[in-house]
Structure formats: structure tokens, C-alpha cells
Amino acid sequence: MGYLLLGIVAGLAAVERKGFLQAMLSRPIALAPLTGLALGDLAGGLAVAAPLELLWLGAVNLGAALPVHEALGTVAVAGGAVLAGQALGTGVTPATAVLALLAGAPLALLGRRADRLVEVANERLALFAEEALRRHHPHAAVRLNLAGLAMPFAIAAVLAPAGAWVAAQLAVRLLHAAPTLDGPLRVGWWAFCGLACAAGAKALRARRAGAIFGVTAAVGLLIGLGLRVAP
């Protein structure tokens, strides 16, 4: 049941990402908690949402360029982390999160390849539409537009649960076989989180981004530490 829900969430996200709406619902920050919710662990999904959003902040569809399929990667990573946490009985931890990331993130690259196939299939749809119009079926011609939503849905609905399964299996087996890795993997996760923030800052291509990024991080730290020591 969990995998079925995961497939539906991933499929809908793949459609929302480009074909319909584009209202940020397929961005990692919204999709990771939704993935967690579908698997019964909203907090687990939320735990990986922010780093994934920042990592893929620059994944945007500019013109004909194809970005990585961040929605597919997000469902695989968040789903894998939540499933692994459930199997281990620990919930999502930094160790399960980083292992799910390492195993699930390549799906974002695979998704980009799948997007190319979708574009080729859509080209045929456009040709069919022109043919239908030549045969005086205007309504049938334009309704072919909606058929373009089917393939992205199907691809994501199959690949994302498969990716989450692989990620969860890897995390569970590795942490069972080598429980002492839990500590070092924590460090790996937090290091990744640091890089994700840098990737977000870089992706925005603002003037003096490096200085703004460094100064706000330092000020944020000082404020956070001040709040922590305050009675």
C-alpha cells in the first residue's frame, strides 16, 4: 500500500512539475513532507525536505534546457529514508537520510533522461493533432494535449517507488551489517547539508552572493547561539 501511494504521489508530482499548474507542489520542500505523509511519517519527510530543496534550488526549466528531475529524486530519497527508518524502528535519522540520498539521488538524473523520451513521445502527439485537424476533428486534435500528461505520470509512478525501495534496502542492510557506521554517517549527512546550502546560494546567481551568504550565516549563528544561552 505504501509503495502504491508513493507511486501516486510521484506521478502527480511529475505532472505538476511541468505539464500542469507548476505551483511548487513538486518542489522538494513540499514533496518530501507529502512523501513522508503518504508513508505515515510527515516529520521524517520534513527532515530531508530543506536540504533537498536547497540542493536543487537551481533545478529550473529554462527554455528547452532540461534540468534534473528533482521531484523523482525527492520521492526516492525521502521515501527511502522514511521506509528505512520504519524498518529499523528509528525513524528518519541522519544516517538513514544520507544513505537514502546516496542511493536515491541518481534518480533525478535518470528522470532527466526520461524527460527526453517524453518530449519525443509528445512530438508524435503534436503530429497526431495536426493530422486530426486535417481530418476535421478539431476537438480531438487539441485534447491530445492532455495525453501528454500520461507518460510523465507513469514513469515517475514506477521509478520513484523502485528508487525508494532500493534506497531503503541499502540503508537497512548497511546499518544492520555495520551499526558502528551510524556515527560517521551522521557527519556525512551534516556535511551534505552544508553543501546543499552553498548550492542554493550559488544557484541564485545574485551579486555578491558569497559575501551575503557568509555574513547571514554568521549573523544567524550568533543569534541562534545567543538564544540558546539566554535563560
Partner: protein
């Protein structure tokens, strides 16, 4: 003849499917024809003229999906004039061809590389500081701006036709985009601080190591990405390097 509000609302709804069948040959051509079809049905009672109008909108079209709303609205404006015999059939096409490139550039620059990343970073910081309610608030706020502008562009395109260009220019979107990008970077910095504090846990005195790991990875990562390092290998390298160094030094990962 003018198009009724209900039909225009139907066209606007269909605009949301503009990229459903995006392809490299005609790009958003099928989506555009699908969107404008209800308006053409209302304007042309003669099936031959209706098909002729639909055929011209099946030609190449590509724009930013939000900004395209202005062009769909403007195309209806021109089709009304064509249907009334006040303009040649080529007028809507020339309107589309003139505006699609510039509006795509404005839309990409404002929505995709500024507004959405800004709200993404805001939502990420919100998730770290206060959990899902702030994520919901950020996504809702983004959509308030997004749908507000999308609907306003559609209406302006329909009412003003070619004059919509002046209206869009007055919005000063490129200047706003610059500010949003800078604010987005600041939010990434704040998120870095929040993550470092989260990594340090709640025990006093654990922050130094956390700041060194999270901040060090961010600093090194920023420099590497600035020098053209690809994102995926960099992310893998940092995660694995952190893990390996901790494993080799026997660090249990507790800051």
C-alpha cells in the same frame, strides 16, 4: 463580438495545461491550441473558419508558462478583431511571435530564477525553524503571487492587446528579481546557521564541531561550485568524505 467571462475563465483554466505535451518541434503549440480552443469555438460559428483559426495556433509557440497567460489573453483579443473582420488572420500570429521571446526571458528571469527560489529558500528555513506550518505558509504565499500575477497578465493581455507590453515593463520585474535573488541568498545563509545549530544538538559546548563540519562543507562547496564543479559529484564527495573522515578518526558523530 466579445468573449464572455465564463469562456475566458475556461481558457485561463486550460492555460494551466500549456506544457502538458511540450515537445521539441512545436514546444507549447499543442498546449496553446488546447487553451484557446473554447474562445475560438465561441468566436467562429463557421466550422471552416474555426479550424483555420485553430490551425494557426497549432504552430510553434514557446514562452514562460506564467507569462504565456498574457499572450493567450492577447491572442483572444486579436481573434475577436479577426472574427469581426477588423484584422487579417495573421495578426494573432504576429502578436504571439513578437511577444513570446521577450516575455519568456522576463518570466524565466523573474519567476524561475528569483521568485520561486526565494520562496523555496524561505520554506526551507521555515521547515528548519518551525516545521511544516511555515512550509505551507511559504508555498501558499508563492501561489498567491503566482496566481495573482498569472490571472492579472491574462486579463491585461485580453483587455490591452499589444499595450500589455507597457504594463509588464512598468512592473519592473528584472529589478525586483535582483532583490529577490539577494534575499534568497541571505535565506540560504540563515538556513546554514539553522542546520549547524541543529547538528550541534541542544547540549551546550557542542556547537564548535558542528559549525566546523556544516560551515566547512558549505564554504568548500561554495568555492568548488563557483569554480565550476558539477553539483552531483560535489554532493557525493562531501557526504562520503565526511563519513570516511569520521570513520577513520573513530568519531561517533556526536557533536
Amino acid at each position: 463580438m466579445t468573449i464572455r467571462f465564463r469562456t475566458r475563465a475556461h481558457v485561463f483554466w486550460r492555460c494551466l495545461f500549456l506544457q502538458a505535451a511540450w515537445n521539441r518541434r512545436g514546444m507549447q503549440n499543442l498546449g496553446f491550441a488546447y487553451a484557446i480552443e473554447p474562445a475560438l469555438d465561441a468566436l467562429y460559428a463557421d466550422p471552416a473558419r474555426r479550424e483555420e483559426a485553430l490551425a494557426r495556433h497549432l504552430g510553434f509557440f514557446n514562452c514562460h508558462p506564467y507569462m504565456a497567460a498574457a499572450i493567450v489573453g492577447g491572442a483572444i483579443h486579436h481573434e475577436e478583431l479577426v472574427a469581426a473582420g477588423e484584422e487579417p488572420g495573421a495578426a494573432p500570429l504576429s502578436y504571439k511571435a513578437t511577444l513570446q521571446g521577450p516575455l519568456a526571458a522576463v518570466g524565466d528571469g523573474f519567476f524561475w530564477t528569483a521568485l520561486r527560489p526565494f520562496f523555496g529558500a524561505l520554506a526551507a528555513l521555515g521547515a528548519l525553524v518551525a516545521g511544516w506550518p511555515l512550509v505551507v505558509a511559504a508555498v501558499l504565499s508563492y501561489n498567491l503571487v503566482h496566481f495573482g500575477l498569472r490571472a492579472a497578465l491574462f486579463r491585461a493581455g485580453y483587455r490591452e492587446g499589444d499595450a500589455v507590453v507597457g504594463l509588464i515593463a512598468r512592473l519592473s520585474l528584472p529589478r525586483m528579481a535582483d532583490r529577490l535573488r539577494a534575499a534568497g541568498v541571505a535565506l540560504c545563509g540563515a538556513a546554514l546557521a539553522a542546520l549547524a545549530l541543529q547538528a550541534g544538538g541542544v547540549a551546550a559546548g557542542t556547537e564548535t564541531a558542528a559549525v566546523l563540519v556544516v560551515g566547512g562543507a558549505a564554504g568548500a562547496g561554495y568555492l568548488a561550485l563557483s569554480r565550476g564543479a558539477p553539483l552531483f559529484p560535489a554532493a557525493y564527495l562531501v557526504a562520503m568524505l565526511g563519513t570516511i573522515v569520521a570513520a577513520v578518526t573513530g568519531w561517533d558523530g556526536r557533536f
